[in-house]
């Protein structure tokens, strides 16, 4: 694929005008497009701000059987994108508070599905395949079902019910240890480093009076250090990033109060939900991690390759549309699909719709990435008439501000794309 630079004129204010879609400002979307690798996901509320900030010490050994990963980019991403997971996980733990505006009222189908899920969940050993099957039709809001189902689908909770409480306790204490290990301020780090190098007892040395002796600083570390590898500098930079995340979240989602910490309900949930969120997020993102590594961009697993797959999929199912988009109007899929894929469609739809889409994403046995590509393809096919009639400008505008759709229908179309034999 030819390396194309995003042209300057694409950054013009033309793309910044708001349309009828979701509440977040559109110029934010554009900013995030051009600053590909400093994505600050603003789809969600932040958890209570972490005590310090993560120091890029290599993370402890893998969680479950995940392959070892480069520590530095991982932690940075976790900070920035953790929030996107939180918005959805707020539903994991606070299903009752969910302002579910997706379904008008429970239909007979929903009720039966709810009953099926509850039955399945109450079994001693949950049949995950069966769970997937039911969940792929949509999980009803309420009764904390989605919360449990997602945790099972992501493998956070084991299938055997009797192990649940012990697993949860184990994971939550593990998370606590991670925090203690990683979130230490530079003062503390310096002190620990010194303890290991200085063996003589300082107390014995302290005379009652006299000039205080000067000692050398270790590793050139001092609070005003501007060095890239300085722990102090990194501490301040991380603090700045966290402040920015906080500000963005407050600005874009002032109405979501789950983690604001004001109510006692929120407080009691914060402790466990933070740990649960962390592990679920890690699970979820483990499949998509490669999209966020700049070095992997042009590789077989990188974001470019995934976007190409989407393009191929479209070509397979709707050649006319594909030709019109990519050849005639030259709408490079990178312009819209990048955000669709990396943020798992959380920016394109409202909260309730996202939940519905994620139900399918997580439950589909083909795996989230394949499912995601099918859904993206379906998104394109559903608005094909408008796309075929449009030129570059209008198409891009449309795709970057995807119109509200009937999600069930979208998922139905996406499902149909699977049935067709590939190649």
């Amino acid at each position: 694929m030819v390396k194309k630079k995003v042209p300057d004129w694409l950054n013009s204010s033309l793309w910044a005008t708001t349309t009828s879609s979701s509440s977040s400002a559109d110029d934010d979307r554009l900013q995030r497009y051009s600053s590909k690798h400093s994505i600050i996901a603003d789809t969600a509320t932040a958890t209570e701000p972490l005590d310090g900030s993560p120091v890029p010490v290599s993370t402890p050994a893998s969680i479950r059987e995940q392959p070892p990963r480069p520590s530095k980019p991982e932690i940075k991403i976790k900070d920035k994108d953790k929030d996107s997971r939180n918005s959805v996980s707020s539903n994991i733990n606070n299903n009752e508070e969910d302002n579910g505006n997706s379904v008008a009222g429970p239909s007979a189908e929903d009720i039966s599905r709810q009953a099926q899920l509850l039955t399945e969940l109450s079994k001693k050993v949950v049949n995950i395949r069966e769970l997937r099957r039911i969940a792929s039709q949509g999980i009803p809001d309420g009764a904390g079902i989605r919360s449990k189902v997602w945790k099972l689908l992501l493998g956070y909770l084991p299938a055997d019910r009797s192990l649940w409480s012990s697993e949860l306790a184990k994971k939550r204490s593990q998370y606590k240890h991670f925090k203690e290990e990683l979130l230490i301020n530079p003062s503390e780090i310096t002190r620990r480093l010194e303890k290991s190098t200085v063996c003589e007892n300082d107390e014995a040395k302290s005379e009652s009076s006299g000039m205080l002796s000067r000692s050398q600083i270790t590793h050139g570390e001092h609070p005003l250090s501007l060095g890239k590898t300085s722990i102090w500098n990194q501490f301040f930079q991380d603090a700045e990033i966290m402040e920015q995340i906080d500000r963005d979240v407050k600005r874009t989602h002032p109405d979501l109060h789950f983690f604001s910490g004001d109510s006692s309900f929120a407080k009691s949930n914060q402790a466990c939900s933070e740990a649960d969120t962390f592990f679920c997020f890690v699970e979820l993102l483990s499949g998509f991690r490669d999209h966020f590594c700049q070095q992997l961009d042009n590789s077989v697993v990188g974001i470019r390759s995934t976007i190409t797959k989407l393009s191929q999929l479209l070509k397979e199912h709707d050649e006319e549309l594909w030709r019109h988009l990519e050849v005639t109007t030259k709408v490079n899929p990178q312009f819209y699909a990048f955000r669709w894929i990396t943020l798992l469609l959380t920016q394109e739809f409202n909260f309730a719709d996202c939940l519905h889409i994620w139900d399918t994403l997580l439950s589909d046995p083909e795996g989230p990435q394949e499912t995601l590509l099918r859904i993206c393809c379906a998104m394109l096919i559903l608005i094909r008439r408008r796309l075929l009639a449009g030129d570059f400008t209008s198409n891009l505008k449309l795709l970057q501000n995807y119109p509200p759709t009937n999600i069930s229908h979208l998922l139905y179309v996406a499902n149909k794309l699977r049935a067709q034999p590939s190649g």
Partner: protein, 190 residues
């Protein structure tokens, strides 16, 4: 972890034009929580500059300061420590450690920050610790022209203070540190 900058005796514009550029590049807003200034800035512009680094600024009056409203001495609490500030030209003999110790007992503080001599010093006696951050611009003093620019940054963490000494020697910034702990029994809080 509280970072406190101790700085003073800049003598801008009379004896020096500005802080050394290498110091200025390190002193950026957002890192420091408090500034303790011994005095002799001397003009408002320097006051404003320090204020931009950190809004919590404490200054005492040096004999050449144009703003006469700064107090002669000041005390404040940061964490577990009580700090006192005084320019030092009032304490005679200038720079005499015993006389400064008297002042420290008078102010009843753990750490006394004082200036005037344009010489960095960190001294411990039974009453506490005296720190002189020197002159941040290397301005000449009443004693000598040979002054290295210096200032101090204290990291107060519980009962422990790490004093980072920043000095400009031969055009290079040298950083040393001094560690001391406050034993909980030496001073009772009122």
């Amino acid at each position: 972890m509280v970072l406190v900058l101790a700085i003073g005796d800049l003598h801008i514009p009379h004896r020096a034009a500005d802080l050394p550029p290498k110091f200025k590049s390190m002193l950026v807003p957002g890192k420091i929580q408090h500034i303790i200034c011994t005095g002799n800035l001397c003009i408002k512009e320097v006051h404003d500059y320090l204020k931009s680094l950190c809004p919590d600024l404490h200054i005492t009056h040096g004999e050449y300061d144009e703003d006469s409203r700064y107090p002669e001495t000041k005390t404040l609490s940061i964490g577990q420590f009580k700090l006192g500030i005084c320019h030092g030209h009032q304490v005679i003999p200038w720079g005499d450690l015993d006389s400064l110790a008297m002042l420290q007992r008078q102010l009843d503080v753990d750490i006394l920050v004082t200036g005037h001599t344009h010489q960095f010093k960190a001294y411990k006696h039974e009453g506490g610790v005296v720190i002189n951050p020197g002159s941040a611009t290397g301005a000449y003093s009443s004693f000598t022209y040979d002054v290295n620019p210096s200032f101090v940054l204290m990291d107060i963490d519980g009962l422990r203070v790490v004093v980072y000494v920043y000095e400009l020697i031969d055009g290079e910034v040298k950083v040393d540190k001094i560690d001391f702990k406050k034993t909980a029994t030496t001073r009772s809080s009122n």
